[in-house]
C-alpha cells in the first residue's frame, strides 16, 4: 500500500466510525434541543440496547440487524416510561439537578447490567460481523458500512419527520417556546413523551449497529458518553443535521490525527478540535444562535 492509499483507508475508516457517533449523538441532541434536558443516561441506554442485541442473537439466534424490529418499539416505550416517571418531575428544575438525576439513572443501569450480566465482554461473531470486502486496496468492513449508512438514514428520516409532518412541526414549536406551543393547543406533555421516546429509540438503534463491530460490557457507555457531548457541541446543539457534521468531524479528527501525529494523541486531538470550534464558533459548526 502506498502512503496515499493508506491515507484514503484512514479517512474511510474514520468516516465510517463518525457516522455511528452521529447516531449516538442524534438522540441525545433531539432531547436536548426540544426539552432542554441533558440525558446523561443516553449512552447507558445504548449499552442496554447492545445487550438486547447480543442476547437476542445468542439465546434466540436472531440476526443482529433484525433486532432493530425489537429495539425500536422497546426503547421507544422505555423512553416514554422514563420520561413519565423521572424526567417529567425534573422539567423546569435547575440544569444541575437534571444532570445529576440522569447521571444517577445511568449509574443504576450500569450497575444492574453488572449484576445481571457480569463484566464479561460479549461480542457477536457471525459471518456478517466478520465480513470485509475490498475495493481496490481498500478494506471496508461490511457491518461498519451498514452501520454508517443506517445511521445517516435514521438521522435524515428524523430530520424529515421534524420538517414535514404536523407532529414534527408541533415538536419544533414546543422547542421554540413551551408556553406559546401550549397556548396554541399543543399537548406539551405528549410532545415531550414522544421526543424522549424517539431519543431513547435512537439509542436502541445505535446499540444494534454498535454491537455488530464492538463488544458489549456494562461500562461501554462511558466510552461513548464524552464523545457524544463533544459531537453535539461541535456540530451544534439542538440541530439534528449538525449531529452528522459533528460525528463525521470528530471521527475524522480522531482517526486522521491518530495516524498522522501518533495514537497517544488520539484523545487530545478531538478535544483540541472541540476547543477550537468552541473558540471560533461557540454555537457549533451547523448551529445557529437561538
Amino acid at each position: 500500500m502506498t502512503d496515499i492509499q493508506l491515507m484514503i483507508q484512514v479517512v474511510v475508516s474514520s468516516l465510517l466510525l463518525g457516522g455511528v457517533y452521529a447516531l449516538v449523538a442524534a438522540g441525545f441532541n433531539l432531547i436536548y434541543g426540544v426539552m432542554d434536558i441533558i440525558n446523561c443516561a443516553q449512552a447507558d441506554m445504548m449499552m442496554v440496547a447492545m445487550y438486547v442485541t447480543y442476547w437476542s442473537f445468542s439465546l434466540g439466534g436472531v440476526h443482529p440487524l433484525l433486532t432493530l424490529a425489537i429495539n425500536i418499539p422497546l426503547f421507544f416505550a422505555v423512553g416514554i416510561l422514563v420520561q413519565k416517571w423521572i424526567i417529567d418531575r425534573l422539567l423546569g428544575a435547575p440544569l444541575f439537578i437534571q444532570a445529576i438525576a440522569t447521571i444517577g439513572l445511568g449509574y443504576v443501569i450500569q450497575n444492574l447490567a453488572l449484576l445481571f450480566w457480569k463484566e464479561d465482554y460479549r461480542m457477536i461473531l457471525i459471518p456478517y460481523t466478520e465480513s470485509v470486502f475490498k475495493v481496490g486496496d481498500l478494506h471496508i468492513s461490511l457491518p461498519r458500512l451498514v452501520s454508517f449508512a443506517g445511521s445517516l438514514v435514521v438521522v435524515a428520516t428524523l430530520y424529515g419527520f421534524l420538517r414535514k409532518t404536523d407532529l414534527g412541526v408541533a415538536i419544533r414549536a414546543t422547542s421554540e417556546s413551551r408556553e406559546a406551543a401550549s397556548l396554541m393547543g399543543i399537548n406539551v406533555k405528549r410532545v415531550y413523551a414522544l421526543v424522549f421516546g424517539i431519543g431513547v429509540a435512537c439509542a436502541g438503534i445505535a446499540g444494534v449497529f454498535t454491537s455488530t463491530f464492538y463488544y458489549a460490557y456494562p461500562m461501554v457507555g462511558t466510552a461513548f458518553l464524552l464523545k457524544m457531548f463533544v459531537v453535539v457541541v461541535v456540530g451544534g446543539c439542538g440541530n439534528l443535521l449538525a449531529s452528522i457534521a459533528g460525528g463525521l468531524t470528530i471521527g475524522l479528527a480522531e482517526g486522521v490525527g491518530a495516524f498522522v501525529l501518533g495514537a497517544s494523541w488520539k484523545e487530545a486531538i478531538y478535544q483540541a478540535v472541540f476547543l477550537i470550534v468552541l473558540a471560533l464558533k461557540p454555537e457549533g459548526i451547523f448551529g445557529s444562535s437561538r
Binding site: 483507508q9 475508516s13 480522531e254 495514537a263 497517544s264
Partner: protein, 424 residues
C-alpha cells in the same frame, strides 16, 4: 402493657446486652491470660504466612496456603528439620484481606504475638511492600514468592528476599526470545514495533523494551502508546501497516487486546512475529471471544502446567498437588510451593532459630535448575535479595491451548512459525 412490666422488659434487655458485652470481652481476654501450654521437647518452628485468605482474592490466597501446607506436611512427615533435632514446622496464618494496611497489622501480630521465625507473602505487590516493611523494622527474614513490581527489591532492605523474577526481567525475556529465535531460524527479526496501553504498566514495560532491545542489536521501528479505552483502533492498526517491522510486541488489557485483534482482521494486517506481554492476551476471555482469530499469538508467562513433561521436579510438585487437591497448579501456586521448599531447605541449613542465622542461610541459597520446581535456572539471591536465576517463559496459543515454547530447553511443544493469518 403496664408501666411496671415495661420496666421489667427494659431491664431484661439491658441485662442481656450487658451479659453479652461482658461475655465477649472475657472471651477475648481469657485466652491471653491463660499461660501457654508447656513447650514440647523439640522446638516448634513457626512460619508466618501473609496472604489474602478472605476477601476478593480469597481463592488465590487459599490456593497458595494449600500449596505451602503440602510441602510442610511432607517435611514434617519425613522427620522435620533434622539440623534442629527433628523440629516440626507449624504454619501461622495472617490474613491480609488483600489490603496493605491489614497486611502490615497482621505482619506485626505474627512477629510480636505469634513469635514466628520467618515470614512469607503477600501476593499483591502493594501488600508485599507494607508487610515486608514491618519485617524489615523488626529484623525478621521475609521471603516473597510471588510479587513482581520491580521497585520491591530496590528499597535497600536487608531482610527481604524475592524468589520470583520481576516485571523487568519478564519483559526482557520477550526480547531474549526473539534473539534466540533469530539464531534458530537463521533469519533476522531486527525491527520491533511496540504497541502499548498508555498507563503506568504499558509505559513501564515499553520502556524496558526500548532500553534493552537496542543493546541486543534490535531497532525500534515504531513506538506507539494508545488509550486502552479506545472505541476504535483502525488508525493504530493502519500505522502498523504503514511501518515496516518484523516483530510486534504488544502490552494490552483485555478489551483493547480483543479490539486490536479484530481490527487486524478487518484491515488485513498480520504481524510476522507477534508477542504479547501477558495480561489481556492470556485472559481466558480473549480466547473465548476471538476463537481461531487469536491463534498463534506468543505471550510471556511465568508458568504453564504442560511443563511437567519436561522437568522432573515440576512434575513431582504438580503430581503431589494434584493428588491432594484434585487440580493442576498455576503459576501462583507453583511459586508458593517453591517458596515452601525453600523455607524447609533454609531452616535445615540454618540449624538455628536465630533471625540472623536464618537470614544468612537465605542469602546463601544456591539451587540448581533441576531442583527448582519452576521453569527457572535455579535460585540465587543477589545483595538486594532478588533471585537472579528466575526466568519467564514464552507460551504460544497453538490450536486453542497455551503451550510452552521457550526457553527451548524447557519447551513442551515446538513453536509454530511463520504463521499465516488464521482467517486467510
Amino acid at each position: 402493657m403496664s408501666l411496671a412490666s415495661k420496666k421489667v422488659r427494659y431491664g431484661l434487655v439491658a441485662a442481656v446486652i450487658i451479659a453479652l458485652v461482658v461475655g465477649i470481652s472475657i472471651g477475648y481476654v481469657i485466652p491471653t491470660l491463660v499461660p501457654p501450654p508447656p513447650k514440647p521437647a523439640a522446638p516448634t518452628i513457626k512460619v508466618g504466612l501473609l496472604w489474602p485468605v478472605t476477601g476478593a482474592l480469597a481463592l488465590i490466597g487459599r490456593d497458595q496456603v494449600n500449596a505451602f501446607d503440602l510441602v510442610v506436611d511432607e517435611a514434617n512427615a519425613a522427620g522435620g528439620i533434622k539440623s534442629l533435632g527433628g523440629a516440626k514446622i507449624e504454619l501461622v496464618l495472617g490474613d491480609t484481606k488483600g489490603d496493605p494496611k491489614t497486611g502490615a497489622a497482621e505482619a506485626e501480630r505474627l512477629i510480636t504475638e505469634a513469635k514466628v521465625h520467618i515470614l512469607v507473602g503477600s501476593y499483591q505487590s502493594a501488600v508485599t511492600a507494607t508487610t515486608s516493611e514491618v519485617a524489615e523494622r523488626y529484623g525478621m527474614p521475609f521471603l516473597n514468592p510471588d510479587s513482581t513490581s520491580p521497585a520491591l527489591h530496590r528499597r535497600g532492605f536487608k531482610w527481604f528476599f524475592r524468589a520470583t523474577p520481576h516485571d523487568e526481567l519478564l519483559v526482557k525475556n520477550m526480547v531474549d526470545f526473539v534473539k534466540d529465535l533469530e539464531k534458530k531460524e537463521g533469519k533476522s527479526f531486527k525491527k520491533i514495533a511496540i504497541v502499548y496501553e498508555n498507563t503506568l504498566w504499558g509505559i513501564d514495560s515499553a520502556k524496558v523494551i526500548k532500553d534493552y532491545a537496542p543493546t541486543l542489536g534490535f531497532e525500534i521501528a515504531l513506538d506507539m502508546a494508545y488509550p486502552a479505552s479506545a472505541v476504535d483502533l483502525s488508525s493504530e492498526v493502519l500505522k502498523l501497516k504503514a511501518t515496516e517491522h518484523d516483530v510486534l510486541m504488544q502490552a494490552s488489557y483485555l478489551s483493547d487486546a480483543i479490539l486490536f485483534t479484530r481490527t487486524f482482521k478487518t484491515l488485513g494486517y498480520w504481524p510476522k512475529l507477534w508477542i504479547a506481554n501477558d495480561a489481556g492476551h492470556i485472559h481466558p476471555d480473549y480466547l473465548k471471544t476471538l476463537g481461531k482469530d487469536a491463534y498463534f499469538v506468543f505471550s510471556r508467562e511465568v508458568f504453564s502446567a504442560d511443563l511437567g513433561a519436561k522437568k522432573e521436579s515440576m512434575k513431582k510438585a504438580n503430581d503431589a498437588f494434584r493428588s491432594r487437591y484434585g487440580y493442576d497448579m498455576d503459576g501462583t501456586m507453583a511459586r508458593s510451593y517453591t517458596a515452601a521448599s525453600l523455607v524447609v531447605d533454609v531452616l535445615e541449613r540454618a540449624g538455628s532459630l536465630k533471625a540472623d542465622d536464618i537470614r544468612k542461610a537465605l542469602a546463601a541459597t544456591s539451587w540448581s535448575e533441576a531442583r527448582v520446581p519452576m521453569p527457572w535456572k535455579g535460585v540465587k539471591f543477589d545483595e538486594t535479595g532478588q533471585n537472579i536465576l528466575g526466568l519467564g517463559i514464552i507460551t504460544q496459543l497453538i490450536d486453542g491451548n497455551w503451550r510452552t515454547v521457550w526457553p527451548f530447553d524447557v519447551a513442551t511443544t515446538p513453536y509454530v512459525l511463520p504463521v499465516k493469518p488464521p482467517w486467510a
